[in-house]
Symmetry: C2
Subunit: 299 residues, 2 copies
């Protein structure tokens, strides 16, 4: 039974970082976030790929018990992202985004997904996020977005966000969407919109959780070498949503725990390109890093 439905991009990424270059590797927000969630719950993906999508990538997702009944294969090319990072790896620079099969995609919900109590709308057009949201009656909905949609579909995006419970958003995007330099003010605005929580992602600086009147600050895991930050924010949010879906507990204390699990997962993601590291860790590795987070912040 699928407990967490995840929608968002699935694609082939071509990435250059100071530590190397890769071409057409498995990527996309729905991939990273469902892998992150898969350590805690049974995710099912709603998305689309083209006929050029390699079967080996399908096998990777299946290996993690991620349901692909909602993954359509359509004539045409798979979504592609081409970008690079300079020494400040907090900032992704996009060279090219090809929506390809997403341009004509309309989601259909498999029966197996229909009773899922948790939904994560990873980054993709607000229209598609809304279509998926309307197919389900989840207990808790998380959503992420990016500057492209803030700048091009602001109204639609805010309409979808209002119907969700947890917003995941980068610090720069929070400042842009809520038109304030203060992350605390941005956080309050989200809570005033009626959401249960907002998680502001700050890359290597960790994240901030705002709930009604309370703030939690999670550190970034201090890594000596970051190979490729692509997917870190998605892996993080997937981990958070997966842990909440597993524990069925929306309390402040439990969301804080979920955020540390998500942070631990994100810290593994950045240690290699694509899913290189995430496919080779166990729940014990995650628990161990969770313990290190405790030590890092304790005083």
């Amino acid at each position: 039974m699928v407990n967490l439905v995840v929608t968002g991009s699935i694609g082939l990424d071509s990435i250059r970082t100071p530590f190397g270059s890769v071409k057409d590797i498995l990527g996309g927000a729905a991939v990273y976030s469902s892998i992150g969630a898969s350590f805690f719950t049974n995710p099912g993906i709603v998305s689309v790929v083209g006929e050029d999508f390699p079967q080996e990538h399908i096998e990777i997702l299946k290996k993690k018990n991620i349901s692909l009944e909602g993954l359509k294969v359509m004539p045409g090319k798979t979504f592609r992202w081409n970008g690079y990072y300079e020494y400040d790896m907090n900032q992704a620079h996009t060279l090219n985004t090809e929506l390809n099969v997403f341009e004509k995609f309309f989601p259909e919900m498999p029966d197996k997904y229909k009773k899922a109590e948790y939904l994560y709308l990873a980054n993709i057009s607000p229209e598609l996020q809304l279509q998926v949201l309307e197919e389900l009656s989840p207990k808790l909905v998380g959503i992420d977005t990016m500057n492209f949609w803030i700048e091009n579909s602001r109204k639609k995006l805010l309409e979808v966000i209002k119907r969700c419970n947890i917003l995941f958003i980068n610090d720069a995007e929070a400042r842009e969407l809520f038109e304030t330099p203060s992350l605390v003010k941005a956080g309050k605005k989200v809570i005033d919109m009626g959401l249960h929580a907002v998680v502001i992602k700050k890359g290597e600086h960790g994240s901030l959780l705002f709930t009604n009147g309370k703030i939690f600050s999670a550190p970034g895991y201090p890594l000596e070498t970051i190979v490729d930050p692509t997917g870190a924010g998605d892996t993080f949010a997937g981990g958070v949503m997966g842990y909440i879906a597993k524990t069925k507990d929306f309390s402040d204390d439990n969301i804080r725990k979920a955020i540390i699990y998500g942070s631990a997962l994100a810290s593994f993601d950045v240690e290699d390109f694509s899913l290189g590291k995430l496919m080779n860790i166990s729940i014990e590795d995650i628990e161990k890093r969770y313990g290190l987070f405790k030590d890092i912040v304790s005083f």
Copy 2:
């Protein structure tokens, strides 16, 4: 008896932020850091001002029981800094720095300071930092610097840092001085130089403490409004050094506590221009905010 000697700039700051402008207000690294330290110990300043330095500023420092026996008044003009902040208040933009009386200043150590066990070399030329260091035999020496000295006196600066025990440095400056994008690598390089600890200051994102093999991540205090960040790093370091001087304990656990006290003080500093807020808080206010830091990071 002076327990913590502080050297560094004392000056008149002219500052513009999105929330207002001020002209010739009391500022300088030695001022903010000794005010920060004064909540925990008895600091004494070694520095210089010109004949134009207002007596009311002297009274402010005296009110905090900061010894000024090492403060010379020399013919000429007081040090001046003129700068501004844009909406991203993590970044100070310097319009003009006038060294003025610092150009001819040679420090003399008052007898009352000579038995001080703690020394804080706030930002000023590495030459002056070294001169002050050679006048004393402290148990623990802290040091701060800025990009100007990294770019213009790199060799001398590294020579002084090597003789200190705790380095305080901004994240961008750490990357510049140690020629690495990784703060973890920069931290390790400082420990390899033989220092006891390095504290990397990250503005609103808090700070990182590196000691031998251990890392501590302190959050920034989430403020809704920041009026003027000038002096926050100095107030922070002064608070850290003051707390260590009070407790005479260099253990990891105690430095972590010191860092949270310093962070609490810095968070008050930014709530007003100059010492507007710092002159109006008590140790109880600091203890209260210390408790809030506990809550902010607990999971």
